[in-house]
C-alpha cells in the first residue's frame, strides 16, 4: 500500500534483559506511514516485550526509539500517548459497568478549569465526548454506540471501543496485541476491514499475532521474531504459510496433519435429543443427536456461542441436562457426576484451560494427577503416594515434551502451550474410550499446535473415539473424519470431511441453507 512513505516509528538496536532471559536482542524495527506491519512470532519470542518498550512501559538496556524522526525517551504510556502511539491490549482495559463514552473519557476527561491549580472537580462533559466518539466511529467505519454499557457489548465491539479510545487520544500509530485471539472468524474479518479503513486514512498499525493466515491476508509487511531476535522481514507476496512457520519455529513445520483413513468401529458415544441451558438460563443446546464411533474424530464446527460449549459441558457432567440423554460405551450417564463420567472412560481437554483444566498455583506434579489423585497408584486408603506422583510427573513431562526446568514448577508459570501439554498429557495418558477436546489449541503457538494435533490423531488410531469442538475451521478440517455443524443450538448438517469444502462449511456455520 504505502511502500515508500516515510517512517513514523523506528526502533534501533533495542536490547532488553530480564533475569535469566534476553527478551530482546538488538532489535531493529520500523513502521511506515499508513501501513500494516505484522509482528509475527511464537509465544515468548519477545513481541510483547518490544511493544511494551515502544509503549513506554519497559525501558530497554540499550537502543533507541525514534518517533517522527525525533529520538524519544518514553518513560510511561502517557509519553507514548502524547507522541501519538495507542495500544490495544489482548486483555481489554475497559470498565464493564461504564458506558462507551465514560470508558473513552476515562483518564482523558475534558478539563474546563480556568485556573490550572483549581480543585479538579468539574462537571464531566459527557455530551461533547459522546459526539466525538460518534464522529470518530463514523469516520473510520467502527460503528460503536457511545451510550452502550461496555459489559453488554460483544467482545468484537469492545475491541472497537479500545480502538476508538486510542483514536480519541489522537493516536496515529496503533499497536494491536493479538487482536484476533478473542474474536470469532466473522469478527476478525470485520476487524481487518477496519484496519484497512484506518490505514487508508493515514493511521499506521503494528499487528502482533502468531496466526499465519491472518498475516498473509492483512499485512503490508511482516517481521518475524524468534527467541528475542528478528529473523527477517518479508511481504505476503514473497512468502507463504510454510515459509513463515519455518521462520517462526526455526525448523520445518508440518502444517497439514498426516493421517490415515479412519477405521470406525463400535459406537462409543451416543447422544439423543439433548437439551441444555446456558448460564443465563436460555436454551443453548436444542435437541441434538449424534454418535461418535471408536477410531474416528467427529468435529463440531460452529461459530463460538452456538451451543458447543454447553454441549461439551453437558457431556462431561459439568452442566445440567434438561432433557434427552447420552450414553458412553453403553452406560447412561445423563446428569451423572463428573467423576462417574471420567471413570467410565472420558478424557476431557476443557475449553478454558486455566479455569477448569489446571490449578495454576499447584505444581505440574499435582496437576498431572488432578483427576486421578484418589485412586491407586496415586492415592491409597486416603493417603497421597508422593513417590508415585513424582514418577508419574517425570514420565509424562518426558513423554509429552513439557518444557519446564522441574516438575515442581507451578503450572501458572508455564507458557500457554506447555500448560496445555500438561492437560493433554494428563488426559490422554489415562485408559479412556472417549476424548472430548474443546478448543484444544486456542491461543497456542505453531509448534504446540502441531504436537497436540499429532497426539489427538494418535488417540484416534489407537481406537479411541474423539469429539473435537473447535471454532477454528482449519483445525476441524484437518483433524476430523466427520463434521457436524452447530448453528443456534442445533446440528444443522453432518458431513464426511471428504465430501465438503471450507466454503460450504463456512456457509453452514453462518446458518445459510444450500439450495436443494
Amino acid at each position: 500500500m504505502a511502500k515508500d512513505s516515510k517512517v513514523v516509528l523506528e526502533a534501533k538496536g533495542i536490547t532488553k534483559k530480564f533475569p535469566g532471559v534476553l527478551a530482546n536482542d538488538n532489535i531493529n524495527f520500523d513502521l511506515r506511514e499508513g501501513e500494516i506491519h505484522a509482528l509475527l512470532g511464537e509465544n515468548g519470542a519477545g513481541k510483547s516485550t518490544l511493544m511494551n518498550i515502544l509503549y513506554g512501559l519497559y525501558h530497554p538496556e540499550s537502543g533507541e526509539v525514534i518517533v517522527d524522526g525525533n529520538q524519544m525517551q518514553l518513560n510511561s504510556s502517557r509519553d507514548a500517548i502524547h507522541h501519538g502511539i495507542g495500544m490495544v491490549h489482548q486483555h481489554f482495559m475497559l470498565i464493564p459497568v461504564f458506558t462507551v463514552t465514560e470508558n473513552i473519557m476515562l483518564g482523558a476527561e475534558t478539563d474546563h478549569r480556568a485556573v490550572p491549580n483549581e480543585i479538579p472537580l468539574v462537571k464531566l462533559d459527557r455530551k461533547e465526548v459522546a459526539q466525538k466518539v460518534s464522529d470518530l466511529s463514523h469516520q473510520y467505519g467502527l460503528d460503536v454506540d457511545p451510550e452502550a454499557i461496555v459489559g453488554d457489548l460483544p467482545v468484537g465491539i469492545q475491541q472497537r471501543v479500545e480502538i476508538v479510545k486510542a483514536l480519541y487520544r489522537k493516536a496515529n500509530i496503533l499497536i494491536l496485541d493479538e487482536p484476533t485471539a478473542v474474536l470469532t472468524p466473522q469478527e476478525a474479518e470485520d476487524l481487518f476491514r477496519i484496519m484497512h479503513d484506518l490505514t487508508a486514512k493515514g493511521v499506521s498499525i503494528i499487528f502482533i499475532t502468531h496466526k499465519l493466515k491472518e498475516v498473509l491476508a492483512v499485512a503490508d509487511r511482516i517481521t518475524v521474531m524468534r527467541a528475542g531476535r528478528v529473523v527477517g522481514t518479508t511481504t505476503p507476496k514473497e512468502s507463504n504459510e510454510q515459509k513463515l512457520a519455518s521462520m517462526m519455529v526455526g525448523r520445518e513445520v508440518i502444517l497439514t496433519v498426516q493421517k490415515k483413513p479412519a477405521e470406525p468401529a463400535e459406537e462409543i458415544l451416543r447422544v439423543e435429543d439433548l437439551r441444555v441451558r446456558d448460564v443465563r438460563g436460555l436454551e443453548a443446546v436444542r435437541g441434538v443427536s449424534f454418535s461418535v464411533y471408536a477410531g474416528e474424530v467427529l468435529g463440531i464446527a460452529g461459530v463460538q456461542g452456538n451451543g458447543q460449549t454447553e454441549l461439551a459441558e453437558a457431556l462431561t457432567g459439568l452442566r445440567h441436562i434438561e432433557s434427552g440423554h447420552f450414553t458412553l460405551a453403553g452406560n447412561d450417564l445423563t446428569n451423572k457426576a463428573p467423576r462417574l463420567v471420567t471413570e467410565t472412560g472420558l478424557a476431557h481437554i476443557p475449553e478454558d484451560r486455566q479455569r477448569h483444566g489446571l490449578v495454576l498455583s499447584y505444581t505440574i506434579t499435582d496437576n498431572m494427577v488432578l483427576c486421578d489423585y484418589y485412586r491407586p497408584p496415586f492415592g491409597k486408603r486416603g493417603v497421597i503416594q508422593q513417590k508415585e506422583l513424582d514418577a508419574n510427573a517425570r514420565k509424562l513431562i518426558k513423554e509429552y515434551d513439557v518444557r519446564t526446568p522441574s516438575p515442581f514448577v507451578a503450572a501458572g508459570k508455564l507458557s500457554g502451550g506447555n500448560q496445555q501439554k500438561v492437560i493433554v498429557a494428563r488426559e490422554l495418558s489415562r485408559p479412556v474410550k472417549l476424548v472430548i477436546a474443546s478448543q484444544p489449541t486456542r491461543g497456542l503457538d505453531v509448534g504446540s499446535i502441531e504436537y497436540i494435533h499429532k497426539e489427538i490423531v494418535a488417540m484416534r488410531d489407537r481406537g479411541v473415539a474423539v469429539l473435537l469442538v473447535s471454532a477454528e475451521l482449519d483445525e476441524i478440517l484437518s483433524l476430523s473424519d466427520r463434521i457436524a455443524v452447530m448453528y443456534r443450538g442445533e446440528i444443522v448438517d453432518t458431513v464426511n470431511v471428504k465430501e465438503t469444502t471450507r466454503e460450504q462449511l463456512g456457509l453452514r456455520m453462518a446458518g445459510v441453507h444450500e439450495p436443494a
Binding site: 471420567t342 477448569h356 505444581t363 486416603g382 514448577v409 501458572g412 507458557s415
Partner: protein, 375 residues
C-alpha cells in the same frame, strides 16, 4: 517465556523453604517491636524495661511458661480452625461462637449427664464423651454455614457472623437461666462445675498448664498431615484454589465445602471443650474473650500453615500473658500490647510495606487467604 520460569521448592532445602516463609512475619514483628519501642519512649517509658518485662512475664519462669501455654492452647485450636477454612477458600469468622458452643456443650455433658443417668460415669467414658460432644457442637454450628454456602451460595462471612450472634446470645440466656450454677451464693452467669470424671488429669501440681496444650500441638500436626498428605487435603486445597477445576476433576465441591466448615468448627469446638475439661471445669460467660477473633489474626500471621499457626499463637499468648509483668515493671498500660499486636498484623497484612522497608523482592506467589465477596 520458557527461560523466565523460576524453579522452586525441590532444589531448596526444607529449612530454606521454612525460613523463606517466616521471613515476612518475622520482619513484621521486628518492625512492630521497634515502632512500639518508639511509642513507649514517646510516653516517657523505658522500652528495654518494658520488653524485658514482657519476656520475663511470658517465658521467665515455670509459672510464666505454664500460663503462656494456657493462653496458647485455645489460640492454637482456633487459629487452626480459621487456617483450615482458609485453605478451603472459606473465611470462618465464627470461631468465637463455635468455641463457646463447644464449651457449653462439653460443660453440659460434664455436669448434667451423671445427674440425668443417675449414675457415676467412669472417667474413661465421661471425659472423651464430653470432649466429643463439644467438638460435634462446633462442627454442627459451622457445618450449617457450609451447607448454606454449598446449596444456596450464602456467603460464609455474613453467615458465620450471624451464627455468632445466635450462639453467643443463646449461651448468655442458658448461662443466666436453665444452665446457671444453682449454688445459692452464685451471682455469676456460669454453669455448675463438671464432675470429676469429666476433668482431665493435672500435669504438674500447682501449675495450670494442661493436656490441652499437648493436644493442640498434636492437632497442628494432624491438620498439617491431613492437608498435605491425604487425598481429602488435596480435595480441600483444590476447592480452595480453584473450585471450577475441582468440579472438573470430579471432586464433590458441595460436600467438601460443608466438610471443611465442619472440620473448622470442630477444631474451634475442641478449643472450648478443652478449656472446660482441662482448665476451668465449667463454662462462664466471661471465659471466652475473643479467642475466635484473635484466631483470624493468628491464622493470617501464621500464613495459614499449621506450624505458623502454632508459632503465631504462642507469640500472641506470650504477649497477653507477659503484659501484666510489663505493666508491673513500667506502669505502662496493658493496652500497649493490643497496639503492638495490631501493628504486627498491619505489617503482615500489608506486607508490601515490609518488602519496601527491607527491599525484599517478590519471589513466591502470595498466599491468597480467601476469595473476594461473592467469590
Amino acid at each position: 517465556m520458557q527461560s523466565q520460569i523460576q524453579s522452586s521448592s525441590p532444589t531448596k532445602s526444607l529449612l530454606r523453604t521454612v525460613l523463606d516463609a517466616m521471613l515476612i512475619p518475622f520482619l513484621a514483628i521486628l518492625t512492630a517491636v521497634v515502632l512500639g519501642g518508639i511509642i513507649i519512649v514517646l510516653v516517657r517509658g523505658n522500652p528495654f524495661l518494658a520488653y524485658a518485662g514482657l519476656i520475663q512475664g511470658s517465658f521467665g519462669s515455670a509459672r510464666a511458661l505454664s500460663e503462656t501455654s494456657v493462653w496458647a492452647t485455645p489460640y492454637i485450636f482456633a487459629g487452626l480452625a480459621v487456617a483450615l477454612a482458609f485453605k478451603g477458600g472459606l473465611f470462618n469468622i465464627g470461631a468465637e461462637g463455635q468455641l463457646a458452643l463447644g464449651a457449653v456443650a462439653t460443660a453440659l455433658i460434664g455436669y448434667a449427664l451423671p445427674e440425668w443417668l443417675g449414675i457415676d460415669i467412669p472417667a474413661i467414658i465421661h471425659l472423651p464423651l464430653a470432649i466429643i460432644v463439644g467438638m460435634a457442637a462446633g462442627a454442627f454450628w459451622a457445618g450449617i454455614v457450609g451447607f448454606l454456602k454449598a446449596y444456596t451460595g450464602g456467603h460464609e462471612v455474613i453467615n458465620t457472623i450471624m451464627m455468632n450472634y445466635i450462639a453467643l446470645n443463646s449461651i448468655s440466656f442458658l448461662l443466666n437461666g436453665p444452665m446457671k450454677d444453682r449454688d445459692p451464693n452464685n451471682v455469676i452467669a456460669r454453669t455448675p462445675l463438671i464432675a470429676e470424671s469429666a476433668r482431665m488429669p493435672v500435669i504438674f501440681d500447682g501449675l495450670r498448664i494442661h493436656w490441652g496444650f499437648v493436644l493442640a500441638l498434636l492437632a497442628a500436626f494432624l491438620v498439617w498431615w491431613m492437608l498435605s498428605k491425604s487425598t481429602l487435603g488435596f480435595e480441600i486445597r483444590t476447592v480452595g484454589l480453584n473450585p471450577d477445576a475441582a468440579k472438573y476433576a470430579g471432586v464433590n465441591v458441595k460436600r467438601i465445602i460443608i466438610l471443611t466448615m465442619a472440620l473448622s468448627g470442630m477444631l474451634a469446638g475442641l478449643a472450648g471443650a478443652l478449656e472446660v475439661t482441662g482448665l476451668n471445669y465449667r463454662h462462664e460467660l466471661g471465659f471466652s474473650i475473643g479467642y475466635g477473633f484473635d484466631a483470624i489474626a493468628i491464622a493470617l500471621l501464621g500464613k495459614s500453615h499449621p506450624l505458623g499457626v502454632v508459632l503465631a499463637a504462642i507469640l500472641f499468648a506470650a504477649m497477653r500473658n507477659g503484659a501484666t509483668r510489663m505493666q508491673f515493671l513500667t506502669q505502662l498500660p496493658v493496652d500497649l500490647i493490643s497496639m503492638l499486636q495490631a501493628l504486627i498484623l498491619l505489617f503482615v497484612a500489608a506486607d508490601a510495606i515490609i518488602r519496601y522497608i527491607y527491599r525484599i523482592r517478590v519471589q513466591s506467589e502470595r498466599v491468597v487467604l480467601t476469595r473476594g465477596w461473592g467469590g
